[in-house]
């Protein structure tokens, strides 16, 4: 199945503006992130922390919902889903 990726800020520089990723049916957000991380070590470092968990300062939105309000990395994906990646922005 095809998943659409929209990357912003530092993720755009690493992933390009918009792209599609082919995943096997039944894949999860974790599969998508792992697939993206294989593209470069820099990208892996921007997605996962040293222990292999998704970094706390990355926002992953699946069709407008933060993945942590779904099932986190175990969120199932479906054909045509749109996943947005952007860094947490905290300051004021």
């Amino acid at each position: 199945m095809l998943i659409r990726i929209k990357a912003f800020a530092r993720y755009r520089a690493l992933l390009g503006e918009a792209s599609e990723v082919e995943l096997s049916d039944g894949a999860f957000v974790s599969d998508l992130l792992e697939s993206l991380a294989t593209r470069s070590w820099e990208l892996r470092g921007q997605i996962f922390d040293g222990s292999g968990r998704v970094r706390e300062d990355v926002n992953v939105m699946v069709n407008g919902r933060h993945f942590l309000s779904l099932a986190g990395p175990a969120t199932p994906l479906a054909e045509g889903d749109e996943v947005a990646l952007f860094p947490a922005v905290v300051g004021g």
Binding site: F8, S69, A84, A88, V89, G92
Partner: protein
């Protein structure tokens, strides 16, 4: 209004009635840092009748690259008092209340309840989530903004209609001292002020349900459509659990 000339250039946008609506309104600005500076300056000059500025911090020299409410002579003063002086100087028609406290669960409920618009100009998500809960409870729109370096984001939260801040960002990101450029605070704070003025005057279409992302490194603006979380602990079913 003491004269008809101060607002002559903006009344064509929303009419005399729009200007009167601004004058009758109270905006709560939580945080008098970089974002709070830009937002409150533009709300004051636009003629929002009452502005309440909440900040428990004091002015430090490292604030002055971006926090345009505070000047060299304000070093060591409470930010709320410094902010109030600047805003009164910009527009003496506006009533400004300085609240020299850090926003917390003890004071937010009362502060939010008397407001027509709540501006999130905070620097951490723990307090933002408290503010989100208070704004939802009072049914007052919340105008979110945040910055880091040349990046920024903004959205408008309308209780009962749009995703709340907890829907959008369920977990506070790690606390860190982020790089901050005054101009980025100006971009995002000005967007927040625009949203507040639009809301108070009934102008245009708001950022409700959309997260605006500003990428200053590339000079780009994007948006992400947002959906509510039905199980949200702040605004959804999770609240009753």
């Amino acid at each position: 209004m003491e004269d008809g000339t101060r607002y002559d250039r903006q009344i064509p946008l929303f009419g005399e009635e729009g200007q009167r609506r601004l004058a009758r309104s109270t905006a709560l600005v939580v945080g008098a840092g970089g974002l709070g500076s830009a937002v409150s300056v533009y709300l004051a000059t636009a003629g929002v009748g009452r502005i309440v500025v909440v900040d428990g911090d004091v002015v430090e020299v490292s604030n002055l690259n971006r926090q345009i409410l505070h000047w060299q002579e304000d070093l060591g003063r409470p930010k709320a008092a410094s902010a109030a002086d600047t805003l009164r100087g910009l527009n003496p028609e506006v009533e400004v209340e300085a609240v020299p406290l850090f926003a917390d669960e003890d004071n937010l409920e009362e502060l939010v309840a008397g407001s027509d618009a709540v501006v999130d100009a905070l620097d951490n998500f723990d307090t933002r989530h408290l503010l989100n809960g208070s704004a939802l409870a009072a049914g007052v729109p919340l105008f979110h903004g945040a910055i880091s370096g040349l990046d920024g984001q903004a959205t408008t939260i309308v209780p009962g209609m749009t995703p709340c801040l907890r829907c959008i960002f369920p977990r506070p990101p790690p606390k860190e001292q982020v790089p901050a450029l005054g101009a980025t605070c100006g971009v995002i704070g000005s967007i927040q002020a625009t949203e507040v003025v639009k809301h108070l005057t009934g102008l245009g279409a708001s950022l409700a349900g959309r997260l605006l992302l500003w990428d200053g490194y590339r000079g780009r603006c994007d948006e992400i459509p947002l959906e509510r979380n039905p199980g949200c602990p702040d605004c959804g079913r999770g609240r009753e659990l």
